[in-house]
Amino acid sequence: MHDIRVPFGDILKRQLELAEKNYQKLTDRNVRGIGVMGAIGSGKTSLILALAERLRARGATVGAIAGDVAGGDDHKRFTSAGLVSASLNTGDDCHLDAHRVGHALEQFPLDKVGVLFIENVGNLVCPADFPLGTQADLVVVSVTEGDDMVRKHPKIFTQTDVVAINKIDLAEAVGVNPQTLVTDYRALNPHGRAVLTDARSGRGIDELLSALNL
C-alpha cells in the first residue's frame, strides 16, 4: 500500500464561487435576490405572492424564479399575479444550485425588477448545502408540518438568518404551539429572526419584509 496526497479542489467551494458570481451580477444590476426554501406545502409560493403584493403597493418591481423538479404551476401563479417570472425545472435534482440559477439569470430581464425571489424546490434538507448567491435567505416552515420541524432539520436552520413560521392561523386547529418552533430556532441560531406569518390574511408580512431588509 502507498498513500499519496492529491491537491484536489473542494467541490462545495466551487459552488460557492458560482454563487459569488450570481451575487455580483444581482448587486451590479441593483437587484436584491431573496432565496426562499422550505418543505413541500409549507407555503413558499403563497408567501412570496403576499410579500410581492406588499412590495408592489410600495412601488417596488418584483420578479420570481420558480424552482421545481417539474412543471410550471408556480411560474403560472407568479405570472398571473403580475410578477416578472421564469420557470426553473431541475429534472431530477432535489434542490437548485448556483450553476442552474446562473443560467436562469442570463435569461431573466433583471432590468425590470428591483427584488427577485428565487423559490427553491420543496425540500428542507439539501438546499442548505447549495448557496445561490442571493442577498438574503428565508426558510418557510408551516405549523401544519408539526412543532418538531426545527429539531428534525437543524442544519438548515443554523445557517439561515430569517425564518417564517407560516399558516399561523391553523396552529390551534392542528394543536401546534408556534412558540416551540421559535424557541428551537433561537437556540440553534441566536442571531436569527423568526416571524409568525399567515400568507393568506397578510399577518406578519410587514415584519417579514423588515427582517429581509426590504
Binding site: 500500500m1 502507498h2 498513500d3 499519496i4 496526497r5 492529491v6 484536489f8 479542489g9 473542494d10 467541490i11 462545495l12 467551494k13 435534482d93 432535489c94 434542490h95 425540500n123 434538507v125 439539501c126 442548505a128 448545502d129 447549495f130 429539531r151 428534525k152 437543524p154 442544519k155 438548515i156 443554523t158 445557517q159 437556540a187 440553534l188 441560531n189 441566536p190 442571531h191
Partner: protein
C-alpha cells in the same frame, strides 16, 4: 438526497486529475474530508461511489471519510476555535454546532466545517516486490532453509 450528484462531482474531478497526472498502481481507497455542516448521508455517499466507479479506472475503490469539525472565527472578541454544541442532553436528536461565538455570542465566520474534498489516495502497487510492502508482508523464510542455518 444529493449524495449521487456530489459523488459524481468528486469522481469526475478525480478522473480529470488522474488523466492529467496519472499514478502508478491501483487506487484502492480515496480519502475525503467532509465538514460536519455538510448535509449528506455518509453511508449513501459511499454507496453512490461504489456504484458510480464501476467501469472506470477507479472501479473497486472505496471512500474513506474524515469528518471535519466546525471552526469559527469571531471578529468581535478574536475567538478562533470550535463551536458550542447543542447536544442530545437538551433533547435534540444530534449534536448541532451553533454558529455564534461561544465566548461573546457575536456573529462568526465559519473557517471549517463546510468542506467536501478529496485529499488523498491509497494505491496498491501491482509490480512492487513482495518484500517491499512493509513488515506484515515480509515473506516467511523458505521451508528448505531453516533459520538455524543462518547462525
Amino acid at each position: 438526497m444529493h449524495e449521487y450528484s456530489l459523488a459524481h462531482a468528486l469522481l469526475q474531478g478525480l478522473l480529470d486529475h488522474l488523466e492529467a497526472e496519472p499514478v502508478q498502481g491501483t487506487i484502492t481507497q480515496v480519502q475525503v474530508r467532509k465538514g460536519e455542516l455538510v448535509i449528506l448521508s455518509e453511508e449513501a455517499l459511499c454507496e453512490a461511489w461504489r456504484i458510480l466507479v464501476e467501469g472506470t479506472p477507479l472501479a473497486g475503490s472505496e471512500l474513506s471519510l474524515e469528518r471535519v469539525p466546525s471552526r469559527l472565527s469571531c471578529a468581535s472578541c478574536g475567538y478562533d476555535g470550535p463551536a458550542r454544541y447543542i447536544g442530545e442532553e437538551s433533547g435534540w436528536h444530534m449534536a448541532i454546532p451553533v454558529l455564534a461565538c461561544p465566548r461573546c455570542g457575536a456573529r462568526v465566520e465559519v473557517l471549517a466545517g463546510k468542506e467536501l474534498a478529496i485529499v488523498g489516495l491509497t494505491l496498491e502497487m501491482q509490480d512492487a516486490p513482495p518484500s517491499g510492502a512493509g513488515p506484515r508482508a515480509a515473506p516467511e523464510p523458505p521451508a528448505d532453509k531453516p533459520e538455524a542455518e543462518a547462525h
